[in-house]
């Protein structure tokens, strides 16, 4: 048995270390270490509750808006304020823009460059893929970065800037869209649609969103040459490397539901384990047994949780807490979100091969197509002249919870206000779920489970299979611990 310590683990947001026990060319056990603690939950204590809107986006530069929306909705619940329809649309647009940009940033800049590594130089698919996706110099990254920067003009209009906007308020958005700007927003989205259809999919977004099952995906793939769109390129390499057999975790999936639209969200809320289940939010707890955190004997619900760092602790190996739902490990992210929502292709993929590297990536791209289609509809529904923001007072004693879906999964903020100040603020981020350590029963977190069985080649010290699995979750380490 050999021991590998893998780090610095780059092309994930923030700092990550993975410790592996390896035998017979396979990972036997994995421990995931989040080596950075900043203490946002401590920084927030005693602050004016509205200061959270300045502080929490700065937890994370890549999920900044998600953090803002979670804080704003926790405050909105505490205030009992409802957004006007324009406010809801504007907030949805800003969050969808972040999620869309993040999904594609993950695909083009973080995930695909691993297939351009020299370890694959002998593979028949390597030369064109390496030319397209090599980190720094690949043609795809340059095209995408330019398209992404232009898409972010939507943030310039609706949020002032990205990351770290203060436009996201409990009652809506500070930025009322004017009539001429609505047209501009449609043009910006049309520009990004052109990029996605020409480069990412080689097809209409509607065709991607409507793919009904695996069979249809397989037929779609061969309908055009493999260089027609980066999704086809990925499907080819996924097939060649068996990425649908790599990185399976618990196959228990959760989504808080995303993008409220009046009564119903765009993406449904729920739990999935072989079939749909009700999601009981009261059953969320955080286990501190393997975290460098001081805690009592029992895991607590985040509304009553604490964050007291303790650097010397027997058995602990990470700053990350271990969130559990009803005591069980769950996976979150785009795959979970599309599965819970009932997107037929994703349901069929998971029924066939569960949660794995290939399915996580496909779900993210399918969701991207769905997001842009939804964003175009939301811009058309904006009514310049009608209100974008409601206001209300915050009681001196209040509770609030804000649940959103960031690009990489379910994000929750639990807020308690006393004497007009923040008494307690607890944050459970997507990668806190996915990259959690063992709990008191010794059950490993999703990534720790997904890494077991990963092949390790002779002489590899940073195994490429491990890199595929880790990055397939699109981790955000700065959110994870905060």
């Amino acid at each position: 048995m050999g021991r590998l310590v893998v780090g610095p683990f780059n092309r994930v947001e923030g700092d990550l270390e993975v410790r592996l026990d390896v035998a017979d060319g396979q990972v036997r056990e994995a421990r995931v270490v989040s080596p950075l603690y900043r203490g946002f939950e401590q920084i927030l204590q005693g602050k004016d509750p509205f200061d959270a809107l300045v502080i929490v986006p700065r937890i994370c530069g890549i999920c900044s808006v998600s953090q803002s929306v979670a804080a704003a909705s926790a405050l909105a619940r505490a205030q009992g304020v409802l957004m006007p329809p324009n406010g809801e649309l504007a907030v949805n647009l800003i969050l969808a823009c972040e999620n869309l940009a993040d999904h594609l940033t993950h695909f083009y800049l973080f995930f695909m460059p691993d297939f351009a590594r020299e370890v694959y130089a002998d593979a028949p698919w390597f030369p064109p893929l390496a030319e397209r996706f090599r980190a720094g110099t690949g043609s795809a990254a340059q095209e995408f970065t330019a398209a992404r920067a232009r898409l972010q003009h939507l943030m310039g209009f609706l949020a002032g800037k990205w990351p770290h906007s203060l436009s996201l308020q409990p009652g809506g958005s500070t930025r009322a869209v004017q009539p001429q700007e609505r047209m501009r927003l449609l043009m910006i989205l049309a520009g990004f649609r052109r990029f996605l259809e020409a480069h990412t999919f080689g097809d209409r977004l509607e065709a991607i969103a409507a793919l009904p099952d695996r069979q249809a995906l397989a037929e779609w793939r061969v309908r055009a040459p493999s260089a027609t769109g980066d999704l086809r390129r990925f499907l080819e390499v996924a097939d060649a490397l068996g990425l649908d057999r790599l990185g399976r975790a618990t196959d228990r999936f959760m989504s808080y539901g995303a993008f409220p639209l009046g009564d119903a969200p765009l993406f449904r809320r729920g739990l999935w384990s072989g079939g749909p289940l009700d999601l009981n939010l009261d059953a969320i707890t955080e286990d501190l047994s393997h975290s460098w955190m001081l805690g009592g004997p029992e895991p607590l619900h985040p509304s009553a949780g604490t964050t007291l760092p303790l650097a010397e602790k027997e058995g602990a190996y990470t700053w990350c807490k271990a969130p559990r739902l009803d005591g069980q490990v769950v996976e979150v992210g785009a795959l979970a979100r599309q599965l819970v929502d009932g997107q037929p292709l994703v349901r069929d993929l998971v029924a066939h091969s569960g949660g794995n590297v290939a399915n996580r990536v496909i779900a993210r791209l399918v969701e991207s197509a769905r997001l842009l289609i939804a964003m175009e509809a939301w811009v058309r529904e904006l009514r310049p002249g009608d209100p974008f923001c409601a206001s209300a007072v915050l009681p001196d004693e209040a509770l609030g919870v804000g649940l959103v879906e960031a690009a990489r999964g379910s994000l929750g903020h639990w807020l308690r206000v006393r004497n007009g100040r923040i008494l307690n603020y607890q944050i459970v981020a997507p990668t806190t779920w996915n990259f959690s350590p063992r709990d008191r029963q010794g059950v490993p977190g999703p990534l720790e489970q997904a890494l077991v069985g990963a092949p390790v080649r002779e002489g590899e010290r940073t195994p490429v299979s491990v890199q595929h699995i880790v990055r397939s979750f699109d981790p955000c380490m700065v959110c994870t611990v905060h």
């Binding site: 893998v6 780090g7 947001e13 691993d114 340059q142 209009f157 002032g160 436009s167 930025r175 004017q178």
Partner: protein, 335 residues
């Protein structure tokens, strides 16, 4: 053209948002930006191919001086806690505190650049009770010192160059690095907080589209109102050093264009304003923080005069979220 300079980028106690903002660069986009600035990125945690052992061997060579280091960019605050150990951030794969790596690598670099307010002064990570004992590279809040000490000079002779902002504008980074690569940035080009004067000798107020409302003190009362944000909603744009409203963000944006206050995020200790970020503290209705360089008595006198003279159009539009009174169409020729 001379050989490109080697740039190493490290991240510590921050959010990665300055790198994300850098990805918004246009004309040229990020990939072209490093080329255009005369730089070769030898490693960046979000952008490079190398992971794990490949990175460790690079860091080893740099630390031992076997490979020269031209530019070191640090993003994020430096975490000295708990109890001076730096264990709140061990660089993964090394079991060694990031502050130790930075102390060791910084003197090797020809120039050291703090990217963002966290790396410059501590920033939001040093907020509240500062649980991780966070500080900047060469400042602790307003006070010189920080991780490297007030006397630190990189091997090229400059102190740490602070590209402040939360996050930074992509051009501030690209163009500062380009100036350093061209040897066109001297200590005299830095302001008292060691920010490059070319970006920070401007005020956020300059070019703010709400300036007409400001002139007449026609103020917004609620979020999404069109009026000036200074009197009631916490805006520090008249005191904040940055060119946000003349350079613009993500094409057309800035904080005040986004409908919310400038919180002076380029300044040390912006994270602790001493009042709610979106409120303006006042005495007898007069804001405490007045515009830079303006004598208070004159401000009060002019403000009351201009308030009395506020045109109906501005008075009504200031508290609406869309134009309710358009400017009157009028013949402008003098006959």
């Amino acid at each position: 053209m001379s050989d490109p300079l080697d740039l190493l980028w490290l991240q510590s106690g921050g959010c990665g948002g300055c790198t994300m903002s850098l990805l918004n660069a246009e004309s040229p986009e990020l990939q072209g930006l490093f080329d255009a600035a005369g730089l070769r990125l030898i490693w960046h945690p979000s952008l490079s191919e190398a992971s794990g052992d490949e990175v460790l061997s690079l860091l080893g060579r740099l630390e031992r001086g076997e490979q020269p280091l031209d530019l070191l960019c640090v993003e994020g605050a430096l975490l000295r806690g708990p109890n001076g150990t730096g264990r709140f951030h061990l660089l993964s794969g090394t079991d060694r505190p990031m502050i130790d790596w930075v102390r060791s690598l910084a003197p090797r670099a020809r120039c050291v650049v703090a990217v963002g307010t966290c790396a410059a002064y501590g920033g939001i990570t040093a907020g509240g009770s500062n649980p991780t004992d966070a500080c900047g590279l060469q400042y602790e809040g307003e006070h010189p010192g920080g991780l490297l000490g007030a006397d630190f000079r990189a091997s090229g002779g400059l102190p740490v160059v602070n590209i402040a902002g939360c996050p930074v504008h992509p051009n501030w980074v690209g163009e500062t690095l380009a100036a350093l690569a061209m040897d066109a940035l001297a200590e005299s080009d830095l302001d008292p907080y060691r920010r490059p004067r070319m970006f920070y000798d401007h005020l956020v107020h300059h070019g703010c589209p709400r300036n007409e409302f400001y002139e007449y003190k026609a103020s917004a009362l609620e979020h999404s109102d069109l009026g000036c944000l200074m009197e009631h909603l916490g805006c520090l744009g008249t005191q904040a050093h940055a060119d946000c409203n003349t350079r613009l963000w993500n094409g057309q944006g800035s904080c005040t264009r986004g409908g919310y206050a400038c919180i002076n995020c380029t300044a040390p200790e912006f994270e602790e304003p001493g009042h709610g970020f979106l409120q303006t503290p006042n005495v007898a209705g007069i804001p405490i923080g007045l515009p830079t360089d303006m004598p208070k008595a004159w401000f009060v006198a002019l403000a009351s005069l201009s308030k009395a003279a506020t045109p109906e159009r501005l008075r009504r539009n200031a508290t609406a979220d869309h134009l309710v009174v358009p400017p009157r169409v009028r013949q402008t020729q003098q006959r």
